[in-house]
């Protein structure tokens, strides 16, 4: 009995020992497999033996598991020897089911011959190409990068699979946007063309009958011997209306021609433009006893004729909307700004310039400040101040064409100030048109 018990005890101990060794071995293998250790050294008699898994390079194993691309190793027959979990996610199949399958199985039919060619070429050297990976309902556009690797027991192929879903979507979006842009461009071209057509109609076909009205009514007026006072007044109204229509047509023409005008940007001394304008306005300035005070103005890269028109419109507005009992004073100032904004800090030599044109005229309610730049917008009846309501619309369009900003501030009875921000050089906007 006693010897039986001894035997049982000894066997149990031996079993326990073997089990412990087995656990240790399993743990070691697990540690090697998961990359916790790279290798183990075992003392075997007088020699040391190094044990490691063939592909168990820790850094690379972690790297391959953590990277966002799918990774495969293929045999020379195209069988999947290894796959990372990203590839498993792409296909929706568990890793255990993937290993051992031919990779071709996951290539969409229409891309198959391309893939086969790629596969064949890859053994000669690195190559890549785009295919669609498909498994059941899951379709993923990918880029394959294939590199042949020489390992101890033969050549295999390493495949990196980059998911292009997002990239393709972005590309599609970009193409769609481009198409829309093209369409918009065509519409814009068409409406520009319409504007040109209109300008041409306005220039001849509208002016022709208008001129007749002017001619015949002037003719009637010059032979008005038997017209009574009332008839004469009516005739004057016809003449006045025709004159107004003439200036409307000319202003609309000028406005529409701004789009077509491809005048060139060139460095222009605003002082010279201003002096020319003051000569033009000489009579009106003398008549109104007006004073025009101005800073030394900058040299800007502008379309000369257009900026001249801006100054002309603003100065003529200031002279027109002056108070009856107070001679107009117009102050024109210039300063340099750091950025394209009315609130920008000043900065010597730019790259932007702020021009202000300030008057002491009748002003207007500030609530109108936003709408005075609209086409045909007038704040006064035609009887009190003549005008077509196009001048400031033209002014704004010109400033926009020069990649600038314009705004106005006004106080009734005090005066109006126009502020314009313009770049010193047009290249700043990467655009000279």
């Amino acid at each position: 009995m006693e010897s039986n018990a001894k035997l049982t005890n000894g066997l149990s101990r031996e079993l326990e020992d073997t089990r412990r060794q087995l656990y240790e071995a399993l743990e070691t293998i697990e540690a090697l497999r998961t990359g916790q250790v790279d290798a183990i050294v075992v003392q075997n008699g007088s020699t040391h033996e190094l044990y490691t898994l063939k592909t168990a390079d820790h850094a690379y194993r972690v790297f391959i598991e953590k990277m966002t691309e799918g990774a495969l190793t293929l045999s020379q027959e195209g069988i999947i020897l290894f796959a990372n979990s990203q590839f498993s996610e792409m296909t929706g199949l568990p890793l255990s089911a993937i290993i051992g399958l031919p990779f071709e199985l996951f290539i969409t039919k229409s891309d198959l011959s391309f893939y086969q060619q790629l596969f064949a070429n890859s053994w000669k050297g690195y190559c890549k190409g785009e295919v669609e990976i498909v498994y059941q309902e899951r379709r993923t556009p990918v880029q394959l990068s294939l590199t042949a690797l020489e390992l101890a027991d033969g050549i295999s192929l390493s495949v990196i699979i980059t998911d292009l879903t997002l990239q393709k979507a972005t590309q599609r979006k970009l193409q769609e946007n481009n198409r829309q842009l093209e369409h918009l461009n065509k519409t814009l071209e068409a409406s520009n063309h319409d504007l040109q057509q209109f300008a041409s109609v306005a220039s001849h076909d509208l002016q022709e009958p208008l001129r007749k009205i002017q001619m015949f009514s002037n003719f009637l007026k010059n032979n008005a011997g038997n017209l009574n006072m009332e008839q004469m007044a009516h005739l004057e109204k016809i003449i006045g209306s025709a004159d107004r229509m003439k200036s409307l047509i000319i202003d609309i023409l000028n406005y529409s021609r701004l789009s077509a005008d491809d005048g060139e940007f060139s460095p222009t001394d605003l002082n010279i433009i201003l002096k020319e304008l003051l000569d033009d306005f000489e009579l009106m300035i003398a008549d109104k006893k007006a004073k025009v005070l101005y800073d030394n103005l900058p040299v800007l890269e502008v379309i000369r004729g257009q900026i001249r028109q801006v100054f002309q419109n603003l100065i003529s507005n200031s002279l027109k909307f002056s108070k009856e009992d107070e001679p107009p004073i117009i102050k024109i100032k210039a300063s340099y700004l750091a950025s394209k904004s009315f609130t920008s800090p000043e900065k010597t030599a730019g790259p932007f310039c702020l021009l202000t044109i300030e008057d002491n005229g009748i002003g207007f309610e500030d609530k109108y400040a936003g709408i005075v730049f609209s086409l045909f917008q007038r704040l006064h009846s035609k009887d009190s101040f003549e005008g077509t309501g196009i001048g400031l619309a033209i002014t704004k369009k010109i400033i926009e064409k020069h990649h600038g900003l314009i705004q106005v501030k006004s106080i009734v009875g005090k005066g109006t100030t126009f502020m314009i921000v313009l770049p010193l050089k047009q290249q700043l906007n990467g655009n000279t048109g």
Partner: protein, 135 residues
């Protein structure tokens, strides 16, 4: 006192609009320094007129409306200035609206000047005086 015909300037007007022809004659016919030739209605008629005229009886100046049917102002001007017989006759263009293109092209082709159609009787006298100064 009427100026002898020899120094009265003979003017040929090419104009398709009857009102405009009317204005022209109404305001300018009584001037002693002008002879208004029977007006023609387009470029083709200018050439018909000139073909019948002899070298010594060519007009002293031709006024061409730009917008005419069949052969417009610029087309007529081109042919006139390429004809060895006619190219010395001073030609003036006139139109309701003189845009940059019309002015540039006309001057290139050899017109003396491009003028806007007047809209008053005084305007007509001013226009013709300006033309007479330039020939």
């Amino acid at each position: 006192m009427v100026t002898p015909d020899k120094i009265r300037k003979k003017i040929l007007l090419a104009e398709d609009d009857p009102d405009d022809r009317g204005f022209f004659f109404q305001f300018l016919n009584n001037r002693a320094d002008l002879v208004l030739l029977p007006p023609v209605e387009n470029g083709e008629e200018v050439f018909e007129y000139l073909a019948k005229a002899h070298n010594g009886t060519f007009p002293d100046l031709i006024i061409l409306d730009q917008n005419m049917p069949k052969c417009n102002g610029l087309q007529t001007l081109t042919i006139l200035k390429n004809n060895i017989q006619y190219k010395k006759i001073p030609v003036f263009m006139y139109s309701t609206y003189t845009d940059d293109y019309l002015v540039k092209k006309s001057m290139q082709l050899g017109a003396r000047s491009v003028l806007e159609k007047p809209f008053s009787p005084e305007g007509y006298h001013k226009m013709i005086n300006e033309m007479l100064e330039l020939i």
